[in-house]
């Protein structure tokens, strides 16, 4: 059973790991390979700040809410083990700020200690009049991808630097199941008018006195278009850019100024922060995640494709729930092919 995962961002690597963890012991012939054009630190996952936080409004697909929660609980279960820092994982608390009262988010009971901000706390943010405080998790993209790569390598999963031109090419190469985790570039393999880049630019600074995330919201402007400050393990990510349809991979000076001015206004101490790096990434924006099975007829055989892309700005937030769902679909495929009667009990 040859599985090829296309894409080595958080979705590709976590899906590969999830499948391998669940099926390698029951399927002797399981052979998993990862094909990708970009590996860490060149993926979009590497640009993400890594805060677990879904969008504020309920997803159009209610399954996504479930996958978000599964991911949070999965990550939380690692808290208490000694190597969380190697995974890029750490608890972090912080502020969501609004200019007017808003309803509580659907994920308020998933995060820890969710509450409204008190008046004295709001005094710290003169431009905002309402907000939340909660404890969530940071899962730093780069560290997590390195960790996933190590776990996969330990398991004998091979990585190949390859630009895949078509599913057929991979099928002809002998793949039985293809997992399509190509993110924002999925359209190159199969046109998808619902998928668009949500360009983001971030500035990473050295500001170790910042222990909290601060995310502002401006409902008129939309998600990620308002300043945010998210501390990572070493550096702090400053952001606030979301440009639908913009494929420009280079850093833009106006965007830099927007981020810098917005964040310094929010947090005056940042004026002392040293800039460590600046990068651009593309959120794979889609009205909902494409997570479904498709059969390809290549020559005389059927090749299964499981699509898992379009996670927008919440890839790290939702990744494990989606990986579990893909693993479930994979299990069904095995059953259909009489390769494996019962799904593993822990699924």
């Amino acid at each position: 059973m040859r599985v090829v995962v296309i894409g080595a961002g958080v979705i590709g690597l976590s899906t590969a790991l999830c499948i391998h963890e669940r099926y390698h012991s029951v399927l002797q012939s399981l052979d998993v390979k990862v094909y990708a054009e970009r590996f860490t630190p060149l993926t979009n996952t590497d640009v993400a700040a890594g805060l677990w936080q879904p969008y504020l409004s309920e997803p159009s697909n209610p399954q996504e809410a479930h996958w978000n929660q599964q991911t949070f609980n999965y990550l939380l279960s690692h808290i208490g083990s000694p190597n969380t820092a190697d995974m890029g994982l750490a608890p972090v608390s912080g502020y969501n700020l609004f200019r007017e009262a808003v309803p509580d988010p659907y994920w308020k009971d998933v995060v820890l200690g969710f509450r409204k901000l008190t008046p004295r706390e709001l005094d710290m943010f003169p431009d905002y009049s309402y907000g939340w405080f909660n404890t969530s998790l940071i899962l730093e993209g780069r560290k997590y991808l390195q960790w996933l790569t190590e776990r996969l390598t330990e398991r004998g999963v091979k990585f190949l630097l390859r630009k895949v031109e078509s599913f057929e090419e991979v099928a002809r190469g002998g793949a039985d199941v293809i997992i399509n985790c190509t993110g924002v570039w999925a359209g190159a393999l199969q046109p998808d008018p619902l998928l668009q880049p949500g360009r983001g630019q971030i500035i990473k600074v050295d500001a170790p006195w910042m222990k909290h995330f601060i995310i502002t919201h401006d409902p008129e402007r939309g998600i990620y278009k308002s300043p945010y400050i998210i501390p990572g393990i070493q550096a702090v990510t400053l952001g606030g850019i979301f440009q639908l349809g913009n494929w420009s991979e280079t850093n833009n000076i106006q965007d830099h100024n927007t981020i810098w001015e917005g964040c310094c206004r929010l947090e005056p101490t940042l004026k002392d922060a040293k800039i460590v790096s600046e990068c651009t990434g593309f959120r794979p924006v889609r009205p909902q995640v494409r997570l479904e099975r498709e059969q390809l007829h290549v020559g005389s055989s059927n090749t299964e494709v499981i699509h898992n892309y379009g996670h927008g700005g919440y890839g790290l937030t939702i990744h494990w729930g989606c990986a579990l769902e893909v693993a479930k679909i994979f299990g069904k495929i095995l059953e259909e092919r009489n390769l494996h009667r019962m799904p593993p009990s822990h699924l």
Partner: protein, 403 residues
């Protein structure tokens, strides 16, 4: 009067100010010429005629410039000096100490604003001091100066192995967002049954003390390196002494009530730790700061030993890893020891020292134990008020009378 070739009496530089802030040529403030030689001993340490000092004074300075000395350059000495420079009109303030940052007790302290309880001080006073300190530091934390001053906001948890008798401490409405931990939050600490979550401030000595020194210098204050063995050494060069010598008051004030409570801590690199965790007993704690995480600690009464103990360090690391297993990955571990200047209550009062016809008004400001950083600004304001009262009293006396 002939100039004395040598001096007798007080071995201190005699300040001759024409106005506050003016420094005479014969004596240069070495304090800020450059950071490294910050507080070298002045080369001229002769008094130009001690016996004549009073009359020389009267000729050389305005009648009512009050000369104030603060003994001690930890957080108390420096903050009191700053408060005095703002509160007391027409005064000169000099901080005198043999130890300065980064070698003071204040430099070892983690500086978390979680106050202790002083049995001998009324709660409303403690709450007032804590609130004043919190408000002062909160304003700094929200300004552009936060990083320079070493002040930051930290959230976290105080956890208990059994329900505490006092579930809501007196300071719960001073810190931010105080509430009990939820059951889900407590799952992180399986050995603990109850906890409190809140956001408070951390104020780090190694940055805050230099920041205070800068402020003091900006308002004309001076800093001298000198070990004072007896408060009378400050007479007659100074009119009022404010004693912020911490444990030094055992000798300087002859106070048997002050004693050390030895604290050993580890300062480690673990930048992924963003929350404080404090065991309700106060013995084990994890306090993330700007450039390191403080792990503690110990409370050894009557122990004066300033050398770190390796066994104790192992114990601290082990206790902290039990609360936060990811600390196993901590590196660059440095051991530090501080002697908390402990006392049943903070000594904050005036005393008029008398020896023969000599008088020396002293304001005592010491004995904060483990609550130094947490209470410093409130008590410094009060000490400054007491100094102001002393200055008022001096000014109402006839101009040429000897003190």
């Amino acid at each position: 009067m002939e100039h004395a070739g040598s001096w007798t009496g007080s071995p201190l530089i005699y300040h001759a100010y024409k106005s506050v802030g003016e420094i005479p040529d014969l004596w240069q403030d070495r304090g800020f010429v450059n950071q490294k030689e910050k507080r070298g001993l002045p080369s001229m340490d002769r008094l130009p005629g001690d016996q004549q000092s009073c009359s020389s004074t009267d000729e050389m300075r305005p009648m009512d410039t009050v000369r104030i000395a603060a003994v001690g350059a930890g957080v108390m000495g420096l903050s009191t000096a700053v408060c005095i420079s703002k509160l007391v009109p027409r005064c000169s303030i000099t901080v005198i100490s043999d130890q300065f940052t980064p070698e003071t007790t204040s430099d070892v302290a983690a500086g978390m604003l979680i106050p202790p309880v002083y049995p001998d001080t009324p709660i409303h006073k403690q709450k007032q001091w804590f609130k004043e300190t919190f408000d002062h530091l909160f304003a700094i934390a929200n300004s552009a100066e936060a990083k320079d001053a070493g002040v930051l906001l930290v959230s976290g948890w105080q956890i208990f192995r059994s329900i505490p008798t006092e579930e809501v401490p007196f300071w719960s409405d001073v810190v931010l967002g105080f509430r009990n931990m939820t059951e889900d939050e407590l799952k992180k600490f399986p050995q603990h049954v109850f906890g409190q979550a809140f956001t408070t401030l951390k104020c780090e000595g190694p940055a805050y003390l230099p920041w205070l020194e800068k402020r003091l210098k900006g308002s004309g204050g001076l800093i001298l390196t000198r070990r004072i063995e007896d408060l009378w050494e400050l007479h007659p060069s100074f009119d009022i002494v404010v004693n912020c010598s911490g444990l030094g008051s055992r000798q300087l004030a002859g106070d048997p009530k002050i004693f050390p409570v030895r604290g050993q801590v580890l300062k480690v690199q673990a930048p992924w730790v963003k929350h404080f965790i404090r065991d309700g007993s106060g013995l084990t704690y994890i306090y993330p700061g700007i450039s390191n995480v403080t792990l503690g600690g110990t409370r050894q009464k009557g122990d004066w030993n300033l050398s770190p103990d390796a066994e104790i360090s192992k114990g601290i690391l082990s206790r902290c890893c039990a609360l936060e297993p990811s600390l196993r990955g901590a590196c660059d571990i440095r051991e530090k020891v501080g002697l908390r200047p402990s006392r049943p209550g903070v000594r904050l009062e005036k005393e008029l020292l008398a020896q023969g016809s000599r008088r020396l008004p002293v304001v005592h400001h010491y004995g904060h134990g483990s609550g130094g950083i947490a209470m410093h600004w409130g008590t410094a304001l009060e000490a400054a008020r007491l100094v102001s009262e002393c200055a008022q009293a001096l000014r109402t006396r006839a101009p040429k009378s000897k003190l």
